[in-house]
């Protein structure tokens, strides 16, 4: 259900851009107004979301510990999986962000059912790194692709961008030269989608919200590849448009072609969708207390800003209740002290 809707939605977006530009000549709308709007939504939306998260306190220190704690001097602690200092916690966070460390741990349990009646099934575990691989491929390909797109927004193109593009063309085949990142991006998105479709458990939990960004990315990478390798567009014009946008002197050069506008419109949709979607995991990981906090809660006092006093059952009330029984059992009493009130 969700998947069909997502596919139709993205196809609809393609049609809207195509008809808008081809049929109604709305290239200013699709080339200038929508991109600006999308960028504003993206930046303000992401900022608002991050600020919202940042304002909510972490009342307790709740890292998920994945290794030996720091305790006795002769026991080796695991600084990365059980960070004690802020620096170590940062190291852990970075290993998540750049290496997807937790995903790399993935194990898949296999229940081998008993053959004979009366025997128990056995549970074994296989390492399952496919998701890690697909995710790494996708994110790095995405990063390189976005990075080398900076050449459309800079003049002269800075050397890191040029270098990235040169490296990206390491295959040195095709005219124009094949850029690996774009194709890997398309492949990885396809793999992630296939996973969602082919694994029953994943299909069971997947929502429109999961399929839509995948189709959208496919559309973006697909139209990008079409433009570069098959249809061909006026790349100089595209750069003029991009430079116009970035320098707030928007222009719509002639002869860019509808495919470019479709590509741009899908990118705009992604940008505008980003802050309100699960794609915000990109920012959320920096705020996830189980991964960002050091495990030093016994060494360093952590304050909960909304901590409030509670009325607990005091010793005095307890002693009053059990006074006689305690006397009889020879348990020392404490009548002399003034009553403690429930302290915070």
């Amino acid at each position: 259900m969700g998947i069909l809707t997502a596919l139709l939605l993205v196809m609809g977006l393609v049609l809207v851009a195509w008809i808008g530009v081809q049929g109604f000549g709305l290239s200013y709308l699709f080339g200038v107004l929508i991109p600006y709007t999308a960028m504003i939504i993206f930046f303000l939306g992401v900022l608002a979301r991050l600020l919202k998260w940042a304002r909510i306190p972490n009342p307790f220190v709740i890292p998920t510990t994945g290794g030996q704690q720091k305790s006795l001097s002769w026991i080796k602690p695991s600084g990365l999986d059980n960070p004690f200092t802020r620096g170590q916690a940062l190291g852990r966070l970075f290993s998540e962000i750049f290496l997807f460390r937790s995903l790399f741990r993935n194990l898949s349990p296999r229940v081998a059912l008993a053959c004979k009646n009366g025997e128990q099934p056995t549970l074994t575990f296989a390492s399952a790194k496919w998701l890690w691989l697909f995710a790494i491929l996708f994110h790095y390909a995405m990063f390189v692709t976005v990075f080398r797109h900076l050449r459309f927004f800079t003049n002269p193109v800075p050397w890191p961008v040029k270098t990235a593009e040169a490296l990206d063309g390491w295959l040195e085949v095709g005219i124009p030269e094949i850029l690996v990142s774009g194709l890997v991006l398309l492949l990885a998105v396809t793999l992630l989608l296939s996973r969602r479709l082919l694994m029953p458990r994943l299909r069971y939990i997947s929502l429109l919200n999961d399929y839509f960004p995948l189709f959208l990315l496919m559309g973006i990478a697909g139209t990008g590849a079409l433009m570069r390798y098959i249809v061909g567009i006026n790349a100089v014009g595209a750069k003029q448009l991009a430079m116009g946008l970035i320098s707030f002197k928007p222009v719509i050069p002639e002869g860019i072609g509808p495919l470019f506008f479709i590509h741009l419109f899908l990118v705009c949709t992604l940008l505008a969708y980003f802050p309100f979607s699960k794609l915000m995991h990109a920012g959320g990981i920096f705020f996830s207390p189980t991964r960002t906090m050091p495990n030093n809660s016994r060494a360093v006092l952590h304050e909960n800003p909304w901590n409030y006093p509670v009325k607990f059952h005091t010793y005095q009330a307890y002693e009053t209740e059990f006074h006689d029984k305690m006397v009889e059992a020879g348990i020392p009493l404490d009548e002399a002290t003034p009553p403690l009130n429930g302290k915070d």
Binding site: Q68, S102, L123, I285, R291, R298, E319
Partner: protein
């Protein structure tokens, strides 16, 4: 065990296939053996919690307050503002599925709503509906749904089929922690008076009497003295425990499982023997006798309320620091919550071992030391003499308790102690130990009698790993450092891995501990004959041979 518990062979065919109908269209069903009794009115009232009344889970009408919808929605809104964890975990899940098969309840039951991702979606769907624009507009299409009484029922079923073990959180790329979801989900349910009685009753007793089982001070003293008598019979050493003694250096707190029932009491005997041998200046408290904290399975507020006694008592008795026994969630609370909830404990001092002089700086703020840290230090510095051959009849494996593994990281200390106290130690498969350990299936207050099938299903992955080492290395002993483990495992082992006994580490240590003035040991702490220990000559040979 409950009468209607299926045999292991009947539970064994586990299918992890997905049903045909979507999860939102599959209402939660109550299956006997898979849920606990609802909390009784008197136990709700004991702490002045909302909606006290007697109700039955099987009833169609759970007697919710009229404005139940408003109460839950406001409760959720408040918690979204108070817990960054909740807001983040509601917002950033991508449903990648990495957590799906990490949950012992899912592996053991095959119920899709026991996949951590779906357990969270039960709450997230309601969050989307009322707190996100897309959810408000597009509803079901984007996984949003209205909060109905059926949803409350579903929450109740599945938030009490989670043991807050955090295994899923370890594998989640963003660290989304189902324990947080369950803890806060249960908080919301408690706003409507929807706890389970196994938790509610323990909380009420702990609040009023000082421990989960409602043991009064004189009975507590008798229990400890009874254990001391057993020790004397066994070793010839007479121990005089001190209770509620002001001016002691250390307040010792452990979970009621240790002074109440087998096999926990044998661990408790181990503590008593160790402290006596060291001549430790310590005291028990009848008022803050309970280290375990079922409040943590109810709400943060109740957790704080019960935990507050520990510091209050430490201050009243004028001790220098707190030493805590072998317990899982007790240590999650002490380690990650106590300082924040009830500290700072300015009246205590940074713990220093009176025997070795070691400063426990890693506990310098909370001022509470885990007994395994304390004892490891003693053993490392040769302050106690151990004769591991006395445990030669035991082939031991070790279960990492979820809370100390993934909420603290106490992994090597217990192993160090086992290796010093025993000659035969074998690890379970590496995917099931240390930070990847599987829950006993009965954590977070679920070790009642009426939900035995749930417990056996949830405990299956752990038991299967024990069975593996039982068959491979003749393991006959499962060691653990958690009182709930010690209560829950005997039934679980009987069911899936018969002939494996359950011990605490300080029981093993008590067996091995060479005490001043002791008579030749021929019995272990359980009063069972030590093989080859019938005469002193045999014992010497064994030791030399080991």
């Amino acid at each position: 065990m409950s009468d209607n518990l299926p045999r292991a062979e009947e539970l064994a065919p586990i299918h992890l296939d997905m049903p045909a109908s979507g999860w939102m269209d599959t209402p939660a069903t109550l299956e006997k053996g898979m849920y606990c009794h609802g909390v009784q009115g008197k136990n709700i009232k004991a702490l002045g919690m909302p909606n006290p009344r007697d109700w039955l889970v099987e009833d169609d009408d759970w007697q919710l307050p009229d404005d139940w919808h408003h109460i839950v929605m406001e409760g959720l809104r408040e918690r979204l503002h108070r817990f960054r964890s909740l807001q983040i975990f509601m917002d950033i899940c991508v449903r990648c599925g990495a957590c799906a098969d990490k949950c012992h309840f899912f592996i053991g039951s095959g119920d899709p709503k026991n996949m951590p991702v779906l357990r969270a979606e039960l709450l997230r769907s309601v969050y989307r509906h009322d707190f996100t624009m897309a959810g408000r507009i597009m509803g079901r299409m984007v996984g949003a749904r209205k909060l109905t009484k059926a949803v409350i029922r579903e929450w109740w079923v599945y938030f009490f089929q989670c043991s807050e073990c955090r295994r899923c959180s370890l594998f989640c790329p963003y660290g989304i922690d189902t324990a947080e979801i369950t803890i806060l989900g249960r908080e919301l349910l408690n706003l409507l008076g929807l706890n389970i009685d196994w938790i509610g009753a323990a909380v009420a007793k702990c609040h009023q009497v000082g421990n989960h089982i409602g043991m009064e001070p004189q009975t507590f003293k008798e229990s400890i003295e009874f254990l001391c008598d057993d020790i004397e019979e066994n070793t010839g050493v007479k121990i005089e425990p001190s209770i509620n003694r002001k001016g002691a250096e250390i307040l010792f707190v452990t979970s009621s499982g240790d002074f109440y029932a087998e096999p926990g009491i044998f661990t408790c005997m181990g503590y008593l023997m160790l402290f006596h041998q060291l001549g430790l200046d310590y005291t028990w408290s009848t008022y803050a006798a309970e280290g375990g904290n079922f409040g943590f399975f109810t709400s943060h507020e109740v957790a704080k309320l019960l935990n507050a006694k520990m510091y209050a008592e430490a201050e009243r008795l004028g001790v220098k620091f707190i030493l805590g026994g072998e317990c899982g969630h007790m240590w999650r609370v002490i380690h990650q919550y106590m300082g924040t909830m009830n500290g700072p404990a300015g009246f205590l001092e940074t713990p220093v071992s009176p025997v070795t002089g070691t400063r426990f700086d890693h506990a310098g703020s909370t001022k509470a030391v885990h007994i395994c840290e304390f004892t490891s230090d003693l053993v490392h510095q040769n302050k106690i003499k151990l004769d591991p051959s006395r445990n030669d009849h035991l082939n031991v494996t070790f279960h990492d308790s979820c809370n100390v593994a993934r909420g603290m990281g106490l992994l090597d200390e217990p192993r160090y102690l086992i290796k010093k106290a025993c000659n035969h130690f074998y690890e379970m498969p590496e995917e099931t130990i240390r930070e990847r350990t599987f829950c006993c299936g009965s954590g977070a207050g679920l070790h009642a009698g009426e939900d035995m099938e749930l417990r056996m299903r949830g405990g299956f992955p752990r038991a299967n790993a024990v069975r593996t080492v039982r068959d491979r290395y003749d393991v006959n002993t499962l060691a653990c450092i958690c009182a709930i483990d010690r209560v829950a495992f005997p039934a679980l082992m009987d069911y899936w891995a018969p002939e494996v006994g359950v011990v605490g580490i300080h029981e093993l240590l008590g067996n091995a501990l060479v005490m001043d003035g002791e008579t030749e040991r021929t019995l272990d702490l359980r009063g069972e004959e030590l093989p080859g220990k019938s005469s002193p000559a045999d014992a010497t040979e064994e030791t030399e041979g080991a």
